[in-house]
């Protein structure tokens, strides 16, 4: 643990220590775990061990970490196909995520969902949705249940900038505002839909925040590459939701380092854009932040090594895991466990 005198650089820089060391270390660990697991997913794809598609959050780790670190255990996450990060951030074992990507029997859904539909109800990950915008109204429903039962749980819904142009976004925002639901809508603005820059197809500069006023909500834009900034915005939104203050819409500015999906080399980006954002790599930024707050290099190195070891172990377990048995093909279509539609 850092000694008191080590904190001097942070104080000198005028940095506010409202977050505390334990939370900072957690924010860092979550980001590193997402980074390592996503990079591993990409390597495994190159080895043809991850099949189908996958959408990585490399570069967007701070958003997932900031919201997850501020969550309580009863809170419910709703993700998109770009949902590995949010799933891992809730504490779902790496092995279960990689196993699903590798379509093994040890995967979260035993290969029945795949990379785009990661779900772990026991960790509060209530599904990953691959139809743009579909999960915003669904998150409203979970929030409605929390409101009806008085549980104080919050539903958190993550989506991209492109999602702000589909009808379900607007239906959900109005619905949540009118019913004052404890739901947080988190727009990860990574500047692109699939291949088209969001600015080319959107009437306002900030696709989420500039629409907030239409639903009576404050305009919130956050530096999505700064986990502390995200954590602060998230904490405020959770507190408001738990207090009966209704929904929040938070736009986090960030950038994906890789293409949209595994098939995309991202040639449509202007020269220098990626480099500019990589200079503000959230993990690099956060390592500097930890040092400013006097956290010793070896503490950081230990976290890095531990995460890498766990990703390696998970990878080996997944490689050794069997493929799903064929008899699950027709299971769980209906609640009786099967797929019978007639007698």
């Amino acid at each position: 643990m850092a000694k008191v005198e080590d904190r001097a650089p942070a104080a000198a820089a005028g940095l506010n220590d409202d977050i505390g060391e334990a939370t900072r270390l957690r924010l860092y660990r979550i980001q590193v775990e997402i980074r390592e697991a996503e990079q591993r997913a990409f390597d495994l794809f190159l080895q043809n061990l991850v099949k189908g598609t996958s959408h990585l959050s490399l570069g967007q780790e701070a958003v997932a970490a900031g919201f997850a670190a501020a969550m309580k255990s009863g809170d419910l996450s709703f993700c998109t196909y770009r949902g590995h990060a949010h799933t891992l951030a809730r504490g779902v074992p790496i092995e279960k995520v990689l196993g699903e990507l590798m379509q093994r029997d040890n995967g979260l859904m035993r290969g029945k969902g795949g990379s785009m539909h990661l779900t772990s109800a026991e960790h509060g990950v209530m599904g990953s949705y691959a139809i743009i915008g579909a999960h915003l109204p669904i998150a409203c429903g979970a929030a409605w249940r929390a409101q009806y039962k008085g549980t104080k749980d919050v539903a958190v819904c993550f989506f991209g900038d492109g999602t702000t142009n589909i009808g379900a976004f607007h239906e959900a925002l109005n619905f949540a505002a009118v019913w004052k639901l404890p739901v947080i809508f988190v727009c990860e603005n990574n500047l692109y839909m699939e291949y088209t820059p969001i600015g080319d197809v959107t009437a306002v500069q900030h696709p989420a925040a500039d629409r907030a006023a239409a639903y009576g909500l404050p305009r919130i834009v956050v530096d999505g590459n700064d986990a502390d900034a995200v954590y602060r915005a998230a904490s405020a939104a959770y507190a408001k939701a738990r207090d009966g203050g209704g929904p929040s819409l938070v736009e986090c500015m960030t950038y994906r380092h890789s293409g949209h999906s595994r098939a995309d080399p991202a040639k449509y980006r202007p020269e220098g854009e990626l480099e500019k954002w990589k200079a503000r790599d959230p993990i690099k930024l956060y390592r500097e932040r930890l040092k400013q707050f006097g956290i010793a290099d070896n503490v950081i190195a230990e976290i890095d090594a531990d995460v890498r070891r766990r990703v390696d172990e998970a990878t080996e377990k997944c490689k050794a895991a069997p493929m799903p048995p064929r008899d699950i093909l027709t299971k769980d279509v209906y609640a009786d466990g099967g797929f019978a539609w007639r007698n």
Binding site: T119, A139, Y334
Partner: protein, 326 residues
């Protein structure tokens, strides 16, 4: 026993389930304070209050999405989509979301919800407010689909739908709302997946659903009195699960099959049943199965046109007579 309209049976069915289980909640457009555009939900808002009977904006996706999120986390929502034609604007939830989430999550998620909707023609509302879309839903793995033809079944099937652990699409027929029927006192609960022989007969089986049930019954009366043809009429009631045993049993006795369907012809529900009968009861048949349907057209508004688009009592009787006399 009391005589009740189909419309009042809807409200009684919902009230029965809301009184039984505080986790049953109800949402939709104009359903609460206004009592529903078809006046099928009158009194529920007063009885159960604004926390359980919730008026929504005109946001069909939000209605079905919210019902799904609430169902996933433990409530038993009943969602109303005013006209079944509007399924087209929220079909993502019906086809992609609550139908598939149990399977995709390997059984982790459940969606015990009911979508009630006004289905069918007869109100001269034209092509976008009159369709019978039960076949749109029947083909989707993960859904259950029911369509009651009388007030008693409205209550019994609605109760079964609310208590069912899977998502159920509940088709109320708009033209049946004013019709009356005897309804027993006390709680009524049916099972999903059971057809009912509503008129026994020995010469032909007529399968019908919702509004087509009273028409098939009337045609059977005509056929009996004017031609001495004795038809068995089966109210299919539940398309998924489908009670094939009752259907095959009836065909085994009468040796002739007619489906009476309000949906337009292509891929209507009767096509699946005819295919099952062809596969499993071919040698029981004394003649080809016949489908009596609405033609492959959008529905017109004018009464004289709409009236001839749907299978009429006369068309049903004529078609059955012609087939049997050949």
């Amino acid at each position: 026993m009391a005589e009740l309209t189909y419309r009042d049976a809807v409200a009684r069915g919902i009230a029965q389930e809301m009184a039984r289980d505080p986790d049953v909640v109800f949402l939709g457009e104009d359903i609460g304070k206004a009592g529903g555009v078809f006046k099928a939900t009158v009194g529920l808002y007063e009885q159960f209050g604004p926390l359980r009977v919730r008026d929504t904006p005109i946001s069909e996706q939000a209605i079905l999405g919210a019902a799904m999120g609430a169902a996933m986390t433990g409530l038993k929502p009943i969602a109303e989509i005013m006209f079944s034609d509007f399924f087209a604007v929220c079909f993502d939830y019906i086809a992609n979301e609550f139908a598939k989430s149990r399977y995709m999550s390997n059984g982790q998620l459940k969606c015990p919800l009911v979508v009630r909707t006004g289905n069918g023609a007869g109100s001269r509302f034209g092509a976008q407010h009159s369709q019978s879309v039960e076949n749109w839903c029947m083909m989707i793995p993960g859904l259950k689909v029911v369509a009651p033809s009388n007030p008693r079944d409205v209550i019994g099937l609605l109760a079964a739908a609310v208590r069912d652990p899977d998502p159920v699409i509940f088709f109320e027929h708009k033209s049946l709302y004013p019709t009356k029927g005897e309804v027993p006192d006390g709680e009524i609960v049916d099972a999903l997946g059971s057809a009912k022989i509503v008129r026994p007969g020995k010469d032909a089986t007529l399968l019908a659903l919702a509004l087509m049930v009273p028409r098939a019954l009337a045609a059977a009366e005509t056929l009996k009195s004017e031609h001495g043809i004795d038809c068995e009429v089966v109210d299919v009631r539940s398309l998924v699960p489908l009670d094939t045993q009752t259907i095959l049993g009836s065909v085994g006795r009468t040796h002739r099959l007619f489906t009476v369907e309000e949906n337009p012809r292509l891929c209507g529900w009767g096509a699946e049943i005819v295919s099952i009968v062809a596969d499993e009861a071919f040698y029981d048949l004394d003649g080809p199965p016949v489908r009596i349907t609405t033609p492959h057209i959008p529905l017109p508004a004018a009464d004289i046109l709409e009236d001839v688009a749907l299978p009429t009592v006369e068309r049903i009787a004529e078609r059955v007579r012609r087939s049997l006399e050949n």
